[in-house]
């Protein structure tokens, strides 16, 4: 089988990329390992999606359905393969795909990789103690409750105050599971303030800051979780232990871009841990474009859609014979934890995403000849700015700085 564009993953980024390529009259195959398109949006039944892109507030399933609907309008040019896993991609642009029906090879002129992110698992946290059942990542608990109609437990503690953690605290509470608290290692909440209010404060769920889980106990099912306060180096402070009798522990401790399939084919960025990309979505391998949470973990799905469209557009132009250079590197400077994209090609203005390293009351963002002041910055809230290309001319590297003012 042959196609112009192979899109790997039919979440927000992949769907947008496929549609963008179909609009340019290319033949597209989009492969999705789940039974339906939409990716993680399908289980995110809370509202808060689409405000930038659609100028209205939607839930995850509604947002996904709008794109699923658009995909179906291009049946002539987009072939959607669900329940279909891409096993590997080789240097000759050939992919090996497997579905319950068959195993087959597909040759593409260009690949848009949009495989999303995975949740950091319990095993990576090195928490001492037993290994009973009742410990879930937030996404798994969310899928069990929102798609499969399963109750995950009776009394729960949440680790990590990222948005998913707080949203799951509310979800569990609404479904009659007692949430005894949310534990956060950092001295400030990891997610948006709106979620601290509408997910925790509204339901009187305590948030334990500068705290961590030091032990889990239970023979078959989880019975007890021990939490302690931590010092500035995140080391537990002896004597501050507090015990929670819970049968459920939900982890929301970060997302990791899913990149394994492209090992050896592309370079990664050491800050985002995702695929290093130019503002065209192009990776270090000219025929592989990438978009969405496999490049950097984004705050809003609206951003992911935009990046998917961009990658789809440039991938199409590549198929039509245009060639792009990666451009000049974008490097995080003072007070900047990470940036996306990682390179800048001046075919267009730059949409720059960045996170600060620490909470800042007021900061001056400096990028080339561009400056803008921001207030009340926290690392969990991504900054997005559009920088005109005139402000970035004649640079051989673009340093991104946040100066305290």
């Amino acid at each position: 089988m042959k196609t112009d564009v192979l899109v790997i993953g039919a979440g927000a980024a992949g769907m947008a990329a496929a549609i963008a390529a179909a609009k340019r009259n290319l033949k597209v195959v989009i492969a999705e390992r789940d039974e339906i398109t939409g990716g993680i949006l399908n289980q995110c039944i809370h509202n808060g999606f689409g405000l930038h892109y659609f100028r209205e507030e939607l839930t995850g399933p509604e947002y996904a359905e709008r794109f699923r609907e658009q995909l179906s309008r291009y049946t002539g040019s987009i072939e959607v393969l669900t329940d279909c896993h891409v096993l590997k991609l080789d240097r000759n642009k050939k992919a090996l795909l497997v579905s319950p029906k068959n195993v087959f090879e597909l040759e593409a002129k260009v690949v848009v990789y949009a495989a999303g992110a995975r949740e950091r698992p319990f095993g990576s946290l090195m928490i001492p103690g037993d290994r009973p059942s009742g410990i879930f990542t937030a996404g798994v608990a969310q899928r069990l409750m929102n798609i499969d109609n399963r109750k995950v437990g009776r009394r729960a503690l949440i680790v990590g105050s990222g948005d998913i953690g707080m949203i799951m605290a509310r979800r569990l509470t609404l479904e009659g599971i007692e949430v005894v608290g949310v534990v956060e290692r950092l001295p400030y909440p990891g997610g948006l303030l709106r979620n601290v209010i509408q997910c925790l404060k509204d339901f009187n769920i305590p948030l334990y800051l500068s705290s961590t889980v030091v032990e889990v106990k239970g023979s078959e099912r989880l019975e007890e979780v021990v939490v302690a306060r931590v010092d500035e180096q995140f080391r537990p402070i002896p004597g501050t232990e507090k015990s929670f009798k819970v049968d459920t522990l939900v982890l929301s401790v970060g997302l990791i871009p899913q990149v394994e399939m492209l090992n050896g084919l592309v370079t990664l960025d050491k800050r985002t841990r995702g695929i290093a990309c130019s503002n065209t979505g192009q990776s270090s391998n000219e025929w592989i474009f990438a978009a969405g949470n496999c490049t950097a973990v984004f705050d809003l799905v609206d951003y992911v859609t935009k990046e998917g469209e961009r990658a789809g557009e440039y991938a199409s132009r590549y198929v039509n014979g245009e060639r792009f250079s990666l451009g000049v590197p974008i490097v995080p400077g003072e007070n900047v934890m990470l940036t996306f994209p990682n390179y800048y090609n001046d075919v267009d203005d730059l949409t720059l995403y960045l996170r600060c390293k620490k909470p800042m009351e007021k900061a001056l963002l400096k990028v080339g000849g561009f400056e803008k002041t921001f207030e009340d910055l926290i690392p969990s809230e991504m900054i997005v700015v559009k920088i005109p290309k005139q402000k970035l001319s004649n640079l051989d590297r673009i340093e991104v700085k946040l100066e305290e003012v």
Binding site: I45, E57, E62, E175, R194, I197, D202
Partner: protein, 122 residues
């Protein structure tokens, strides 16, 4: 000046305001007019959109996700959840289908946010 964070959308505007004799005399920081009505509600009767799900019979999925079509008083949320728990609908369900009208007299409807196709039970 008091501070409040608007929860109506992910922009999360930080609204600064002051109240004299029960009246809002100054407001700043809201990037849209919804912020002002949020603030008014928050001082009088806090309201929230509630996303949840209802059971589906003969559907390709056991649940259809739903939301209130507009924010409902926060104090009614427990009662609302009790009510929604009893609801069971027949597939097919389409996005936007009204599942409950004027729920608890709030003026808000409960609407489906997911399409669930019908499967014929054997």
């Amino acid at each position: 000046m008091e501070k409040i964070v608007c929860v109506l959308c992910p922009m999360g505007c930080k609204i600064k305001y002051s109240v004299e004799d029960g009246k809002i005399v100054s407001v700043e920081g809201n990037r849209c007019p919804r912020g002002l009505s949020y603030l008014e509600d928050e001082l009088k009767e806090p309201k929230r959109i509630v996303p949840t799900s209802v059971r589906v019979v003969n559907g390709e999925l056991p649940l259809a996700s739903v939301k209130t079509s507009k924010p409902i008083p926060k104090r009614l949320i427990p009662e609302f959840m009790e009510l929604v728990k009893q609801v069971q609908i027949e597939a097919p369900v389409k996005v936007g289908d009204v599942i409950l009208k004027n729920v608890l007299d709030t003026g808000a409807d409960v609407v489906a946010t997911r399409t669930v196709k019908r499967v014929n039970s054997a």
